[in-house]
């Protein structure tokens, strides 16, 4: 599971050559960068892969020059947007079009939703590991109860109720009503 390092701390460690910190930075933002390109800008996989690698290559090169370490997320989002637009332009060379015709009309709304999704994901780190695992497998990886049950050695018939409890726990966390208690997703 991801560490509790802030972006500022993570960027600082990357800058000092800590390869583990770099790996964690990539892990922390990989889903976000991926979702911007495939969900917001609807790039095909091969273009999304180019954008993905280029975003992190630029991040690696620019870490030393990042003005505000805490602004890593908006910086990554902006670089990803620009590279996605470049890809869309390149793929429409035969039929030139204005950017507003190339970019999906709801791209910015989708990026805003992904910002929120990232915040929810960060909050998820405050739930028991078993909860994180179950919620991620079911909602983000689209795994069936059966697959989750096999992977986590749980009866498939209990997965639905565990998901419910974990979502409730998440909701409490996000709404600031969390009270200390036993791990609800692990029982």
């Amino acid at each position: 599971m991801a560490s509790a390092l802030s972006d500022t701390e993570l960027v600082g460690r990357c800058r000092s050559g800590d390869q583990q910190a770099w790996a964690e930075l990539v892990e922390r933002y990989s889903r976000y960068v991926y979702a911007i390109s495939v969900t917001a800008f609807r790039l095909p996989q091969h273009d999304a892969e180019d954008v993905f690698q280029e975003v992190f290559a630029r991040a690696y090169q620019h870490l030393a020059r990042l003005r505000d370490d805490a602004a890593l997320r908006p910086w990554l989002a902006q670089v990803t947007r620009r590279l996605c637009i470049d890809k869309l332009r390149a793929s429409s060379r035969e039929q030139p079009a204005a950017d507003e015709d190339l970019v999906p009309a709801d791209a910015e709304d989708t990026v805003s939703m992904l910002d929120e999704a990232l915040a929810v994901r960060e909050a998820m780190a405050g739930t028991p590991e078993r909860c994180q695992e179950i919620l991620d497998r079911f909602f983000a990886r689209d795994e069936s109860y059966r697959t989750i049950g096999e992977a986590l050695d749980l009866p498939p018939g209990t997965i639905g109720s565990r998901i419910s409890r974990c979502l409730k726990r998440m909701r409490e966390l996000l709404e600031g009503r969390n009270e200390p208690g036993p791990a609800s997703g692990s029982g």
């Binding site: 990989s30 892969e49 994901r121 983000a140 689209d142 998440m170």
Partner: protein, 84 residues
């Protein structure tokens, strides 16, 4: 944050599926690739014979010298030395 009903939470969690593992791994290995690239470039600048071998046949030269052929490194060297 407020107003997170369970349906909305589920939708937001589902909005961030994992990126393909190979993509993530390649991005995580960037510093290693960068170190290898810097080492090969420095050596090629200091060793004319090695540089000529790289230009003549990049992949063969790397293999003969025992370098792991990371695709990103090979591509960067190919651009840098305009090799075959």
């Amino acid at each position: 944050m407020s107003n997170y009903d369970e349906e909305r939470l589920a939708r937001l969690i589902g909005a961030l599926p994992p990126a393909p593992e190979a993509w993530v791994r390649a991005a995580q290995e960037l510093p290693i690739a960068r170190t290898q690239l810097d080492e090969i470039v420095a050596r090629a600048e200091a060793d004319v014979a090695f540089r000529e071998r790289l230009i003549a046949d990049l992949e063969e030269a790397l293999e003969l010298e025992g370098y792991e052929r990371d695709p990103a490194v090979v591509e960067a060297l190919r651009i840098r030395f305009k090799s075959k």
